[in-house]
């Protein structure tokens, strides 16, 4: 299968410009690039979910100007989406076999013949899954296995995996890699979409890097190393520099966490956060780093432990409790948890601070709200025609500034940011970090939860490393470098 000269515009904005890619049997082809570079759009075009403006898709020598989902499946192309696209209300067996039945245009459905076929696939891949369980009740890793089995039942000759490791724990990732290797030796062509360097190097034989809708470079993976990939992805050299102010160790503690535990997520977490400090919290996916932040913010209430904010013990049982205590949280899933996409920038900015803009009778003070909106719209350099524009029209970096503005408007004692620069362009990334430094200098304490080592190096006074739900290392001063962080995270 190959795609040639694909172009695609969204409302006049080019999302893909002249992209060509080949999938060769028995080879893993990595498609790498930062969020928003057009990877997902390319996948959608290859799988027939979107139609390209120009270009062609060639399957077994037959050229298609555009392709629909049905034809793509018949051509042996299977996509395993980031969200797996499974049916939560059907059993594992049905999920595995159903698409194949659709593809051959079957009209009747025989439950008895379904099971053996699903079982055969499980055996072939040496996977253990309960075929009668409903998919909705499976763990994320098992859902992914189901999706992979489904792709194989369809006699997939080309499997495209969109960010398959995002929601997996470390062990699950290595199991997945073993499986990918087995598929490759069977002669399947694989495309592995990722933005994580180690993964890209570990698994692929060929590599294509995209940036801002353009194909930057293609070639055998052996020709690349972490630094070169990273510079192709970002368009500049890896930055190991630190811009960190001197931390006043005598500053009072803004946040003090003692023996915080949540069954199955993390255990005995204790740390202190000074006024004006920027603290990094890092760890692999599934290490518990996100859960710790969510517990502090009242999303998932901790089972045990004590939380003090500015010296006062606070009981955080809900998000309202956390906000009342002076905590703010920029969630990682910005689009669904952080923003009201169809509402204006102005509405988003005041969304969390409505109570503090109240006058008598519960009325909103127009002058106060207008002042707040203006202050942050201008102060955070949100780039839009005006504050009435819906957030949906903003780029990743600007959208993140809106979420940031929403929380800064509440004047929090501690602001936690989960993946603050995920899907944000380089320029905005720097500016967002600089903003945090400025706010910290003014006395706000900041927690950055991230697995982006350069970002932690660039901004944090100290870095906590979380592994398997436990706080394993506290890095300070010179210990903080990209290499040490990556090593401590995965060691």
């Amino acid at each position: 299968m190959s795609a040639r000269g694909i172009n695609k515009n969204f409302g006049g904005v080019p999302a893909l410009a002249d992209v060509s890619i080949d999938l060769i049997p028995g080879e893993v082809h990595c498609l790498a690039g930062e969020n928003g570079c057009g990877k997902s759009t390319l996948i959608k075009i290859i799988s027939g979910a979107e139609r390209p403006d120009s270009g062609e898709i060639i399957i077994d020598g037959v050229s298609f100007a555009q392709i629909n989902a049905h034809a793509a499946i018949q051509g042996g192309i299977q996509v395993i989406y980031q969200d797996f696209s499974l049916f939560p209300n059907l059993t594992v067996a049905e999920n595995i076999v159903l698409t194949a039945e659709v593809a051959v245009g079957r009209r009747l459905y025989a439950p008895a013949s379904i099971r053996p076929r699903a079982e055969a696939i499980l055996q072939e891949l040496d996977i253990d899954l309960d075929l009668d369980r409903e998919v909705g009740t499976l763990s994320v890793a098992d859902k992914q296995l189901t999706a992979i089995c489904r792709a194989l039942v369809n006699d997939a000759r080309a499997i495209i995996m969109d960010e398959p490791t995002t929601a997996l724990t470390h062990t699950e990732v290595s199991r997945l890699f073993a499986l990918v290797e087995r598929l490759r030796t069977r002669g399947v062509a694989l495309m592995f979409v990722s933005h994580k360097l180690e993964e890209v190097l570990a698994i692929s034989q060929r590599l294509t890097i995209m940036r801002s809708g353009r194909q930057v470079v293609s070639g055998p993976t052996a020709d690349f190393d972490q630094r070169s990939i990273s510079s192709y992805m970002t368009g500049r050299e890896v930055d190991d520099s630190r811009v960190v102010s001197e931390l006043d160790v005598n500053a009072p503690l803004a946040l003090e966490v003692t023996n915080l535990s949540l069954a199955g997520a993390y255990r005995d977490i204790s740390f202190g956060l000074h006024k004006g400090e920027i603290l990094g919290v890092t760890g692999l996916l599934g290490s518990g780093r996100t859960e710790i932040a969510e517990s502090l913010f009242g999303v998932e209430v901790a089972d045990e432990g004590q939380i003090r904010v500015a010296g006062e013990v606070v009981a955080i049982r809900s998000i309202q409790d956390a906000v009342a205590a002076g905590l703010g949280y920029v969630p990682e899933d910005r689009l669904s948890q952080g923003l009201f996409l169809d509402k204006s920038i102005a509405d988003n900015i005041v969304a969390a601070s409505l109570q503090s803009h109240r006058t008598r009778w519960g009325m909103l003070s127009r002058t106060q709200t207008a002042a707040t909106i203006k202050r942050f719209f201008v102060g955070l350099k949100i780039n839009a025609r005006n504050a009435d524009a819906p957030v949906r029209t903003l780029s990743g970096g600007n959208a993140q500034r809106v979420v940031l503005a929403k929380w800064l408007a509440t004047e929090p004692t501690v602001l936690m940011l989960n993946g603050p620069t995920v899907g944000v362009d380089i320029g905005s990334k720097e500016e967002i970090l600089e903003l945090l430094r400025v706010e910290a200098a003014k006395g706000m304490s900041v927690i950055i939860i991230s697995d982006d080592a350069p970002e932690l190096v660039a901004a944090c006074h100290r870095v906590l490393v979380i592994k398997n739900g436990r706080l394993t290392h506290v890095l300070e001063g010179d210990q903080i470098s990209v290499d040490t962080i990556q090593e401590r995270m995965s060691a």
Partner: protein, 347 residues
């Protein structure tokens, strides 16, 4: 444990059957006249039309939609067919009458389907709108007169009984139309379980985007669903007219809730993806038995409406609370899973 799970059924059909059984036992103890062939047959008779409607609603609900226009379609199709036969003065026989009515019903369902699927609009609001249109159109263009005499073939069917048993409490009749209803139930159950069309309904209800990606023809399926509902509604409309031995254009519309309540109580999920014919039939029977028992206990018929409302609140409320708890439980299970994995990792 496994046996228990199977007895309980995928949509709690077992629980529903138990409730129904319990109710029947309790009623029989409270009032001996309840447990007679007579009552049983009359409950079955009164369930004929609701069961057919409920099958239609079930199909829509499985795909994640809702239809409130089915009663309007039913009376439109049934009444206009009768009106046509009577004014034209000819009796096409039962197959002919059903064929005309089903044709009308399918056409009306097609309107629903095309509007909903083509423009991706909220199903409740669209069908509320078409309900008004269909009902208004019947009154304006078909007529509003009450027909007390039906075409010969329908009148004959009205008095045909399958059984005619003499018991000590009087004669009990089981109407012959129970048979086609049972056949319809079996047919719909077969379609849902054993055809790709049926499975695609569950797939669409489970995750419409995933269904699209898997290559299901989502739009076409949605249109077919509403056409099928139209057909079922038309059958129910004709049967209603036969059973009531008259064609009254004011009938049926307004009773939609009872049907939707029964389907939801029968285990179908309002957000789609879940539901079975067995559960639906049990749900309808439960509503009918409760109605019947309230009358026998001496509760005035005016309370029926409230009773159905309360039943719906209780049934759905329990489901909603159970869903909260399930969500919490799955998290705990996942937590245990990750714990185990962590331990393996450490070892």
């Amino acid at each position: 444990m496994d046996v228990l799970r199977r007895l309980r059924g995928t949509n709690n059909e077992g629980v529903l059957a138990l409730v129904l059984l319990g109710l029947i036992v309790a009623m029989s103890i409270a009032n001996p006249t309840f447990f007679t062939l007579n009552t049983g047959f009359s409950i079955l008779r009164s369930s004929i039309v609701p069961v057919i409607f409920a099958l239609g609603v079930l199909i829509v609900v499985i795909t994640g939609g809702i239809d409130v226009s089915f009663a309007a379609i039913a009376i439109f199709a049934g009444y206009s067919t009768v009106s046509f036969c009577l004014t034209a003065g000819f009796d096409p026989g039962l197959p002919g009458i059903f064929a005309i009515a089903i044709g009308v019903g399918v056409a009306l369902g097609f309107i629903n389907g095309i509007v909903i699927a083509r423009f991706n609009l909220p199903t409740l609001i669209v069908t509320l709108g078409t309900q008004g249109v269909f009902f208004g159109a019947m009154y304006t263009y078909v007529g509003a007169t009450y027909f007390a005499d039906l075409p010969g073939s329908m009148a004959a069917l009205a008095t045909s009984n399958l059984f005619d048993v003499t018991t000590d409490t009087g004669r009990a009749y089981l109407h012959v139309l129970v048979v086609p209803v049972i056949l319809l139930c079996l047919a719909v159950g077969w379609v849902l379980k054993r055809t790709m069309f049926g499975r695609s309904l569950y797939a669409i209800g489970g995750d419409i985007e995933a269904a699209r990606r898997a290559g299901f023809q989502v739009q076409r399926t949605q249109v077919s669903v509403y056409m099928l509902v139209g057909a079922l509604a038309a059958i129910a409309g004709v049967i209603h007219i036969v059973l009531s031995r008259s064609a009254n254009p004011r009938d049926l519309v307004g009773g939609e809730l009872d049907i939707i309540a029964a389907v939801i109580l029968g285990g179908a999920a309002i957000f789609g993806g879940r539901g079975s014919v067995l559960g639906t039939v049990l749900g309808v029977l439960l509503v009918q038995v409760i109605k019947n028992s309230l009358l026998l206990v001496g509760v005035p018929s005016a309370w029926l409406r409230t009773a159905v409302g309360v039943l719906l609140v209780v049934g759905v409320g329990i489901q909603a609370i159970a869903a909260h708890r399930d969500a919490r439980r799955t998290r705990v299970i996942q937590d245990l899973d990750t714990d185990l994995k962590k331990e393996q990792e450490l070892v």
